[in-house]
């Protein structure tokens, strides 16, 4: 039964580019894949381990910049650059996590927020490496064993495949001793410790894992757009990721693609409609929309869109008899 659902889902994903011919729609779907990867990581960190990050865009940016710098300036194969990015980013998260994961709740949120801002400023200021505010242009398409993902259709399959792989890895982790340890930290940190769970180490591990996932997404983003610049890695992007995770529902990694899709499509809609409504509207208005979405989710569907919609679907069915 579940196997068939899985195969059915895969076929739908595989057939989408055949049906969807409008380039801008395919572009949106590529971003859905990329954001799904970040959201899955955030879901592990926040939904399972109960730790907040408002700095996920920094890890996303570290991946993007590592890939861009290594492929553009050093002509290193993009696959290696991507892996290097994940390792570097995980190491940064680990090192930075040692002091700050001791913090809880709002304090952790503030610390990760500050970290995100520092990394953003580094992208702007270290001009010799990062190209400053204008960034690094001319990032080549991702290529693997000589095969270049040089069209939107190919990149759709690349990002969708990477997103599925990330989901499977996350599901495996969740359904294991490690996933249980993470949930126990969320449930009661003191009880987890007294049962022999090294909570500090597990928090660091999942923080580094979520950072590596964000980095993977960042690398795919850099190769898709062909350009990295600091503007893509601001605080707003971090908030966007949190909204995606919240919309998808933090209780299950399977909510991530729904959260990523809903927010990406909504953002795209806002971006197109806003200027028509308000002539002076600029990108900053997205933040207001995210805020409203987040508040609405917290009030009406605190467990996320998937659980929320399913619950209302069932209750309506039951009401009908």
């Amino acid at each position: 039964m579940r196997g068939w659902a899985f195969i059915g889902g895969l076929s739908v994903l595989a057939l989408i580019p055949v049906v969807v011919k409008t380039p801008s729609y395919l572009d949106v779907l590529i971003y859905v894949g990329i954001y799904t990867i970040v959201t899955v990581g955030l879901c592990l960190l926040t939904g399972y381990a109960g730790q907040i990050s408002l700095g996920q865009a920094a890890f996303y940016g570290l991946g993007a910049y590592t890939s861009a710098i290594l492929t553009v300036s050093y002509a290193i194969p993009s696959g290696l650059a991507l892996i290097a990015g994940m390792l570097v980013t995980a190491a940064v998260a680990y090192g930075f996590g040692i002091p700050i994961l001791k913090l809880k709740g709002h304090y952790l949120a503030m610390a990760t927020l500050a970290f995100g801002i520092i990394v953003y400023l580094a992208f702007v200021e270290f001009k010799d490496f990062t190209g400053g505010p204008s960034g690094i242009p001319g990032v080549p398409p991702f290529s693997l064993f000589g095969f270049a993902f040089d069209s939107d259709i190919k990149r759709y399959y690349l990002t969708t495949g990477a997103a599925l792989l990330t989901l499977v890895v996350a599901r495996n982790v969740v359904n294991s001793r490690i996933g249980r340890a993470l949930r126990s930290i969320h449930g009661s940190e003191v009880a987890a410790e007294t049962l022999g769970v090294d909570t500090a180490r597990h928090k660091l591990q999942v923080f580094a894992l979520s950072a590596a996932m964000a980095s993977l997404a960042g690398s795919l983003y850099a190769h898709h757009l062909g350009l990295v610049s600091p503007a893509a890695f601001t605080f707003v992007t971090s908030v966007e990721f949190v909204v995606m995770a919240a919309v998808g529902g933090l209780a299950s990694v399977w909510g991530a693609p729904f959260g990523a899709a809903t927010v990406t499509i909504l953002t795209e809609g806002i971006r197109r409609v806003m200027p028509l409504l308000l002539s002076y509207a600029s990108g900053e208005h997205e933040v207001i929309a995210y805020g409203i979405i987040l508040i609405a989710i917290m009030i009406f569907m605190p467990e996320g869109l998937v659980v929320g919609l399913r619950a209302s679907f069932w209750s309506r069915r039951r009401a009908r008899g």
Binding site: I178, H186, G187, V190, L195, G196
Partner: protein
Amino acid sequence: MSALLSAHGIRKSFGGVVAVADVTFDVPSGEVRAIIGPNGAGKTTIFNLITGIFPLDGGTIRFKDSTLGGLSPWQRAQRGIARTFQNLQIFTNMTVLENVMVGRHRKSRTGLLAAAIRAPWALREEARIREHALACLELVNLERRADDMAGSLPFGQQRLLEIARCLATEPTLLLLDEPAAGLNRGEADALGRLILSLRQRGITILLVEHLMDLVMGISDSVLVLNHGQVLAQGSPDAVQNNPGVVEAYLGAEVEDA
């Protein structure tokens, strides 16, 4: 024979409040040792000091002939100390069985990488964890609730679940903080039998409990605490007949009543 656990001159204060003043006691291996005393006497604080939730202000605690100083709670758990909580600390985001499976953490080793790729040995270990956790649930008669969410259990059963979770760690020393709170007469009797059967299995037990029938019925010896100090210790009979205890502790309850 040297003691399994020995606390020497331990002290702890919170701001101006001296919770544990200067307490020395030994827990011999294989005993059920009770700690009793009025509310605020410092019983739970002693558990927190033994398990490393708080650092000691002074004194030493030795376990299996080595000091526990500087070890984190999880390291103490690794050495064989498990505890339950007076204010329950159930993982309400998990099922009853999963709660107990967390207790197997220290006896299993699957890492992040093996988990991520569903390595065959990791799956085999997972099956062993589940089996052992189920056996622990059977010991406290909760196996039928295995797949229910832990938060849906009544309080009395949540206390039993905490015990099952501890048993999954295969502890040498088990600290029980008011396990009978909220249990009815029959359940309390069953708890007493459970504790004795655990002692039979070689688990040493340190029991904090207000229910005197239970304490006096199953303890090998009793430590009476008052205002963070040891008031008396000895066999249940000796303690019950100690005039100081009757006055300071049992007397106080009679007055209250």
